[in-house]
């Protein structure tokens, strides 16, 4: 049979070379299409089979794991009777043969994490103790050694959720990984786990902190309890990583670190205008009155977005020393955005002098400027 098939293929091949070119091309594409279809069906079937096996396994194991966690943690008789660290689990239950299989241990970790997301306090601590007592930390640390970044991220997330310390030697290199997802996960973990120096990775960061990662980091920093907040001006002064400096400026403004004002003012000499814009924005949010003179002095030499930031900053600082400067910009600038920003800043002062100035401008200026003032005075329009 095999020899017949081989002969048939051989004959087909011999005839193939005598066929017209367009038939040859058509046959070639037909073969490719057939192979691609068979391959695609094979992949789909394999994935479906894998999914089916996974679902079947989950249906079998999840109730068992949940039952074990419920008995050992949620309805543990000793809970709230004795300190969590003194509670002993039923060794027979947690060392059951079934919990030795790697895939089952992964299910246990996943479910423990889900519980930890929903419970804190003693239940949360007991869930952590169960994770440690079942030696699941070992599984997570094994995953950290994997070459696949997805597995590394999973490990980092597991250890962070379970509040298990990861040594700096292991985690710090990951905070600077070339893979953005791994880098972000490691940085988030580092801030949550490092009790003394949660921002140490800023020192070694050469890869950028992407805008979305900055948002996530900001959320973690502002919501993690008992986090040691350093003076961020040290990175503003010495970091060569632009995104670190930009992120630190946001943190300085958020934590109102007045002592950082001189370091932020130094950035006004920076050649990068985005840096300067960020620094001006930060000075405004800090209400840095000491920076006002400097800002008005450099105003004329700045690109437009830096000028707009200066006008906004003067409105935020609202010392009243630069009302005339703002008025001049409002009246004589040819740029609409500048006039708008100047008007907003004058109104933002909200002092008797600024209110008198606004009334005076409304009475004397031309129609378009009046419209700008009316727009800026409208409390329903948020700026």
């Amino acid at each position: 049979m095999w020899s017949d098939l081989t002969n048939l293929l051989y004959q087909a091949y011999e005839q193939y070379s005598f066929l017209p070119l367009f038939i040859e091309i058509a046959l070639f594409f037909i073969f490719i299409a057939i192979f691609a279809t068979i391959f695609a069906y094979g992949v789909i079937l394999f994935r479906r089979w894998k999914g089916y096996v996974h679902d079947k396994r989950m249906k079998f194991i999840r109730p068992k794991v949940e039952e074990m966690i419920t008995e050992q943690v949620l309805i543990n008789e000793n809970l709230e009777q004795i300190p969590v660290e003194e509670i002993e689990f039923d060794q027979a239950a947690i060392n059951d043969k079934i919990f030795k299989k790697p895939w089952v241990r992964q299910v246990v970790i996943d479910i423990l994490i889900q519980y930890r997301k929903n419970f804190r306090g003693e239940v949360g601590e007991l869930l952590r103790k169960l994770y440690i007592d079942m030696n699941l930390t070992k599984d997570s640390f094994e995953k950290m050694k994997s070459l696949k970044w997805e597995r590394k991220i999973k490990a980092v997330v597991e250890l962070t959720q379970m509040d298990v310390q990861i040594s700096d030697v292991t985690i710090l290199p990951l905070t600077n990984s070339t893979n953005p997802s791994l880098r972000a996960a490691a940085r988030n973990a580092y801030i949550q786990l490092s009790k003394n120096e949660p921002f140490k990775f800023f020192d070694v960061a050469t890869e950028p902190i992407l805008p979305w990662d900055q948002l996530e980091l900001f959320r973690i920093i502002t919501t993690t309890k008992d986090i040691a907040i350093p003076n961020f001006s040290r990175w503003v002064s010495y970091s060569t990583n632009k995104s670190v400096v930009s992120f630190c400026l946001k943190l300085i403004a958020h934590y109102d670190q007045q002592t950082a004002i001189p370091a932020v003012m130094d950035l006004l000499n920076n050649k990068d205008h985005y840096f300067r814009a960020n620094a001006i924005n930060c000075l405004g949010k800090l209400g840095a009155e000491a920076a006002e003179d400097r800002l008005t002095k450099i105003y004329a030499t700045q690109p437009i977005h830096c000028q707009l930031e200066i006008l906004k900053a003067l409105g935020r600082i609202a010392s009243g020393n630069n009302l005339e400067f703002l008025k001049n910009e409002f009246l004589f600038s040819s740029n609409f955005d500048v006039r708008m920003a100047a008007a907003r800043s004058i109104i933002k002062h909200n002092t008797p002098a600024s209110r008198a100035m606004v009334e005076d401008l409304r009475a004397t200026t031309y129609e378009e400027n009046k419209l700008i003032i009316s727009h800026c005075l409208n409390p329903l329009i948020k700026h």
């Binding site: 949940e66 419920t70 949620l74 309805i75 809970l79 709230e80 479910i111 889900q114 519980y115 930890r116 997301k117 929903n118 419970f119 804190r120 306090g121 003693e122 239940v123 949360g124």
Partner: protein, 134 residues
Amino acid sequence: MTTILIIEDDDIMLKAVRNILTKAGYNVLTAKDGKEAFDKMENCEYDIVITDLMMPYANGLEVVSRLRSDSTKRHVSIIVVSSVGNEETITEAFRLGADDYLKKPIMAGELLIRLRKLIENRSTSNLKLVTKKK
């Protein structure tokens, strides 16, 4: 025995709270989404509702609103449990008539204390439990 209706779409959380409350001696009913919740709210008797905020079909605020607009269910106390912890949502929940608000992750002990307080408040204000004692 006090009957508590738990409305929660997260299976793990639902089972966990059910187990904790059962262990604490409460009679527990459960609903996995807004639809099932409305069904049980109509057809079952209960004294306290613990509801999540974000669920399929109807959110927790709708549950609170419906309970408070039904004059026959005025006696029911409501605890909202959610990971949404912003002030607007909490204020809205209280405005609609929720009695208490817990932010996830919750503390099991705190939940039990708050439940006990609600039950005590009910008894001091002479409200009778709807469910009959077994």
